[in-house]
Point group: C2
């Protein structure tokens, strides 16, 4: 496969990935190479990754606990302290080997350690490959508020190696697939139709590449999310609130990110049908596709109240208004749509019926 | 006086400062105006500052505890949580009204809140006016390691109002004056000679402007500290280690930043005499000038050991070597000079004799 080269960093795929990494490490003359993992990528991904590195470098492995619940400033402080104890200096590099928690948190830690050291992202989950791998968003949660702390900082390079997907279960792959479906909905109707027919996750390579190309095109045109980039938030305004609510509530089973935004996309598709011209048959297509793959989350009335309360804290809100990204049709999104409060409850009613 | 306009931000002096702020606030349409203070600037600076603001805005005051000991991630987390509770959104602005702790920490908090909101620095100490006011360094300490966490992020504008110096004691003014003397040593012999003859801090305005111009010229040529900007670290390699040691040691009285780097500059002037051609009479001039204004810090042998241990953690070190900025003569600095270990102890011997 191929590489996507942008002005600030490069995304390398599959067999070209390790070549690019080895060439970079040989040229960069890093004082030390730190690798950030969680207990899962430590066990399943680190050995195959290390086996591909040629040359002699000083490596240090830093392990954090997996899970969104650990994506916080406390974990950052622990990693900063370990870096400091292990003499990381400005010429050190941090390789983030893991899912979105590791790449988001590791990117933030690296960019703010001694005013910024190089970092390289090696996403090991489907979600991280198609979403966190490009765009440079780094950060951690503040309490139950997702990605409240962080900033835009580009990795030196991103290595996308689909082999790592073999370490994941079906549920995690399905979660990541939701972001790919989103890329179809906001930007490419053909891609959406192709993905709908995917029946096995064994042959995802080409589709992953398409997803990254779509995301990369959007991000390059609007790196700091002034306008166009906001379309990537489709499904995320309600999806994040749902995810946060399930994260902080002790009664609920944990909802994976993709599962939360799958529900968010159905809800926001309904808003699109009411407000921005999405056709009834497109709405039904979207609902049927997501319900078939993700089932339905149950939302009792008190959960809906809590979710709508969390909404106002979403980081995309400005001046107290809640701005949504909605669809004009499948493949075309519209940003900055304000939605009346009462419509939000109707959306949940449609989702549940 | 006048303003310094750079590509990314502007520094406004004295009477032009409030005009610039009022014009900016009227145009920017912020959702809320947050003002970060410590208990001292809350008491002495906030009222006169607010009195100069024209127009109706929603203000929220956030107070942190003063002192380097509170310049840490824990304080950041508290400020992030207050911002979140008070519904700060991406269109909010944070005005940092205080000394270097408030402007460094506030800049870091703002730049990483929801991936970055605007911030404005209003330095109220001499040190912050001539040092922290330009250059965009933000950050906090990690344990006793100064500025270990942070990054370069530019404020929207910097307002330098020397009136605030009336709220400071002689000791704090003298501390800030050390950074001005440094600007003379590294870049401008005439300025050094002028400052030596300053006998009263009542008429510092013109000198403050000169200092900011010198620092700004350096920073504009090398914003990310690849080479030239390093000259601003003269006196700081040993100075920071001394400051950190006194901060974490319970037996010592607290040393102000300028007091620590005054000692650091004498020590590094001696290294310059031995390694980079500083003349003996220049060395004596530097030592006499600093000892007259700052006295001598007492360094028992065990303190020197501890300080040299801290040195290797200084964030400017790379690959385990300790790079110094030294003087070729008064007004001209040389970067990346490696100093043999044994010379460091000799420098302390010279300082104490």
């Amino acid at each position: 496969m191929k590489s996507i080269i942008t002005p600030s960093y490069a995304v390398h795929f599959n067999e070209t990935a390790y070549d690019a990494l080895n060439t970079h490490l040989a040229a960069a003359n890093y004082s030390k190479v730190f690798i950030l993992v969680d207990e899962n990528t430590h066990e399943y991904c680190l050995a195959p990754f290390m086996a591909q590195i040629q040359g002699e470098y000083v490596f240090e492995i830093i392990e954090i606990e997996s899970g969104e619940i650990n994506k916080n400033i406390h974990t950052c402080t622990q990693v900063w302290e370990v870096l400091s104890e292990l003499d990381a200096d400005r010429k050190s590099v941090l390789i983030n080997l893991g899912g979105g928690v590791v790449t988001d948190l590791g990117g933030f830690v690296a960019s703010s350690y001694k005013r910024g050291i190089d970092f390289i992202n090696v996403p090991t989950t489907l979600l991280a490959m198609v979403d966190a791998s490009v765009g440079g968003k780094t950060g951690v949660d503040l309490g139950s508020l997702k990605n409240q702390i962080g900033f835009i900082s580009q990795p030196k390079m991103v290595l996308v190696v689909p082999d790592f997907l073999g370490t994941l279960g079906e549920r995690q792959l399905t979660s990541g697939f939701a972001e790919m479906l989103k890329h179809g909905l906001i930007k490419d109707r053909n891609y959406w139709n192709q993905l709908k027919s995917v029946r096995s996750f064994d042959e995802l390579d080409a589709y992953i590449l398409d997803s990254i190309i779509i995301k990369n095109e959007v991000v390059q045109q609007d790196p700091t999310e002034q306008s166009l980039r906001k379309i990537l938030n489709f499904g995320h305004t309600l999806g994040h609130a749902i995810e946060s609510h399930f994260l902080e509530s002790k009664e609920h089973e944990l909802l994976l990110h993709g599962e939360a935004i799958a529900a968010g996309m159905v809800l926001e598709a309904w808003l699109s049908y009411r407000l921005t011209g999405l056709l009834a048959e497109e709405l039904e297509d979207i609902k049927a596709t997501f319900v078939e793959r993700y089932g339905k989350v149950s939302f009792p009335a008190q959960d809906i109240d809590a979710i709508l309360t969390l909404l106002k804290f979403d980081k995309k809100n400005s001046h107290g208004n809640i701005n949504f990204v909605l669809l004009q049709n499948i493949g075309e999104a519209q940003i900055d749509v304000q939605v009346p409060d009462d419509l939000l409850r109707e959306a949940f009613a449609y989702y549940s019926e």
